[in-house]
Amino acid sequence: MTRRDWIALGALPLLAQKKTLPTAPVSVRKCDTYDQDFYEIFSKMFDEIGGLPKLVRNKTVTIKLNLTGSPALRLQGKALGLTHYTHPKHVLAMTTLLDRAGAKRIRFTESAWGTAGPLAEYMLDSGWNVRQLTTAARQVEFLNTNGLGGHAKKYARMKTSHGGYIFPSFELNDTYAETDVMMSMAKLKNHDTCGITLSIKNMFGCTPASIYGDDAGVDEPNESPTQGRGSVCHAGKRQPAKIAAPELDPASPRDAFHRMPRISIDIASARPIDIAFIDGIETMTGGEGPWIHPTKGTFGTVGIAKPGLLVIGANPVTTDTVGTALMGYDPRATKGTPPFHKCDNMLLLAEQAGLGTADLKNIEVIGGKIADLRFKFPMSA
């Protein structure tokens, strides 16, 4: 990080206060098991933040799932939904709820790890009952957005609203442009690079590996990607395929702790989130997936936890701010203080980009008090 970056980031909270930042209420629930009537629970939570029908009636709703890493990787043999994937029971209940609220079409998306094959098969490999999900609403689609995926005819250029920290725009599967309502269904987790991964960071999975992947074409997308996005995004060792806009400043730090929080905000700015959902009933701690080393990760530990929490909001910044506080962290912590002990605070970066407030004083929390519900994640106060 340069001196200029440091000063700018240190001044973020002050600068942010001067602007009127978007805010929206956040609904929280204590919920200890997955054996619950989530249709009923989610209905009430949506009612608390303003109601679902007016948001989704006759709309195409895209649900960005969190299916990070290969389905073959399990933490201590646990089902994926109990540690680092979106839980299928939540998805089923949400689908039914959206359908009854009048959603015209429900699309599940993810850029599935290392493949451009059908998302439905990836979900089967994750142990999901795809047939049940298919019949839960009038029109349900499963789209792998790691490339065009055989369903989109083209990529759509989606520009950031704030000009971008790293990228000014993203070349995404056209599905994201054809979306009326964008929902991010995330897990309450730490992230080895970004400190936290909640509804905003989940959107990183929208980027197609065909363009942003390690084996992306130099000029044109590689529609059969098999790699992750480490070279282009995390390390900045190469630029995306030329179909996409290159980085704004190729001389900026080539440091994942600098780049990834910023790229996450760029993506959430280019494809705004309308509904943010965070599952913290059961989850993993110390990282975003089972590939994080149990002792050598940035949190120095990896484990399984049962915080017993659900969070829903209409603004991803307010929702993630509440989520961060529920993890026992200060959402306004600056670099050096956990969970941002290694990286820049993406919530403050989101504030600076004008996406929403990260100040708990300006966020209405409904359904419980943070102090009562807080669950201590690693390195929290």
């Binding site: 990070t68 290969s70 389905p71 201590q76 043999g77 059908p118 098969e121 089967l124 994750s126 142990g127």
Partner: protein, 463 residues
């Protein structure tokens, strides 16, 4: 039963024919400890030389156990085998590398007394001809399962599943080459904590391809079992359950390999190595039919749509013609690139080495591209910790899918997509009663879901 096998069975004079022997290495000499086997289907004990005694043999025979002398290379084998017979043992197992002359002398001596000789030699020298003995085998088994690597951790990255070490690949080739009973010797790795489930995995790894693992426990675990320690006995009973299960469905294990992908290879080009083409395909859960060179004829490609020809230069003109006819009839043949040739396995070699893996990668990418997401008999989902084997009669009236879980954890929500229409699907598993499971139509033909799988299961689909 072929005459040779029948003769051997009769000659042995034992109640149990060689094919029915369930072998276990028994490192104790105290007859009292045999009580541990009272509820076990294990019926054949391999006894190290230091523990041979007439008293033990008598006690074992009283429990209808077959007792075989375990002879390792060292002192001349023949006098040792004779001593074993004098003590009343039922035969000998030559485990390791023995000169042909020495092994033959033992076999002749034991045959003359109607006793059994089993040779567990080098993989590359397993007798696969029509005059092979009733029981063949090797001492060069792989300790199957998800094994830790040099850094002490299983292979793990966001990219994929841990590699499962297995004997299934080379045993498929054996099964395609001969109908003889096959025994595999593999011991738990030293200095490693072996959970009880690893023993279950070894039994299942071999049984799903119709072979038998010579049950070999860590000494400490063995001692706990024979000391009647409740936890160890409980774990041993789990193993007995799995053994009984595979005995119950032994007839299914003898069905030929089924599926639309054939792999043409032989001993000289790596068919008996672990980690070779067959294992790579196995890990992808693609049903595969190994075709040894001697078995190449038009019938062997019946119902196949794709074939991998690992070493085309080694085929004779007639065999090459069979493959040409296969392509003319619409089949796809993937041939290794010109000049590509797997090195001839070295004596004693068990697994592919780094150089060979690099070489295999050249054709593996092509195999992967050719098979892709195609359903070549069955597609399995959510099975990253598992391996499978698809068998079935050539008429396609039914198919059998063996499933083995190599993790210490129960697997749930497995989806099975069978190619073609099947009217009835039954699931057999050791821990629960068999049940008919509901089918549904899908783009491949028939789908079924398996809610839960603990160790192993056999799925039988009938037209």
């Amino acid at each position: 039963m072929p005459l040779l096998l029948l003769f051997t069975a009769l000659a042995l004079g034992a109640a149990i024919p060689p094919a029915g022997l369930i072998p276990m290495r028994w490192p104790a000499s105290d007859p009292e400890k045999l009580v541990a086997l009272d509820a076990s289907p294990i019926n054949c004990l391999l006894i190290p030389e230091a523990n041979w005694s007439n008293a033990f043999v008598k006690a074992a025979h009283a429990k209808n156990l077959t007792v075989l002398a375990l002879i390792a290379p060292g002192e001349p084998a023949l006098p040792r085998a004779r001593r074993a017979l004098d003590l009343g043992l039922d035969g000998a197992v030559l485990e390791g590398e023995f000169p042909d002359q020495e092994a033959n002398a033992v076999r002749e001596a034991l045959d003359s007394q109607n006793k059994l000789t089993i040779q567990l030699g080098l993989r590359g020298r397993i007798p696969l001809s029509n005059d092979a003995p009733a029981v063949i085998g090797t001492f060069q088994g792989v300790w199957a399962g998800i094994n830790p690597h040099e850094d002490g951790e299983a292979h793990a990255a966001p990219s994929g599943a841990p590699w499962i070490d297995t004997n299934a690949g080379f045993l498929r080739f054996i099964r395609a080459s001969t109908d003889r009973t096959f025994w595999l010797s593999a011991a738990p790795p030293p200095s490693t904590i072996v959970t009880a489930s690893r023993y279950l995995q070894m039994v299942s790894d071999t049984a799903m391809v119709g072979a038998r693992w010579i049950i070999t426990f860590e000494r400490q675990f063995f001692d706990r079992i024979t000391a009647n320690e409740p936890k160890a006995v409980k774990e041993f009973n789990r193993l007995n359950l799995i053994l009984k299960f595979f005995e119950q469905y032994r007839s299914l294990q003898s069905l030929p390999a089924f599926g639309q992908l054939a792999v043409v290879e032989d001993v000289a080009n790596g068919a008996l190595l672990s980690g070779s083409v067959l294992d790579m395909i196995t890990v992808k859960h693609t049903p595969v039919r190994p075709i040894p060179f001697k078995a190449i004829d038009p019938k062997s490609f019946d119902k196949a749509t794709m074939a991998v020809n690992v070493d085309p230069q080694s085929l004779d003109p007639n065999q090459q013609q069979v493959l040409k006819n296969f392509t003319r009839a619409g089949g796809t043949v993937l041939t290794a690139p010109p000049g590509w040739r797997m090195p001839v396995p070295r004596p004693g070699q068990i697994t592919t080495d780094a150089e060979e893996v690099k070489k295999l990668d050249q054709i593996w990418k092509e195999v992967n591209a050719m098979t892709g997401r195609r359903n070549l008999g069955v597609r399995l989902f959510n099975v990253s910790s598992m391996l499978s084997n698809m068998l079935g009669p050539p008429d396609g009236s039914k198919v059998v899918v063996f499933l083995v879980n190599y993790s210490d954890f129960t697997v749930d929500s497995i989806a099975v997509h069978l190619l073609g229409k099947y009217s009835k699907v039954t699931l057999h598993w050791p821990e629960r009663p068999s049940k008919t499971i509901p089918t549904y139509e899908n783009e491949d033909g028939t789908g079924v879901d398996i809610d839960i799988l603990e160790t192993t299961a056999i799925l039988v689909a009938e037209k």
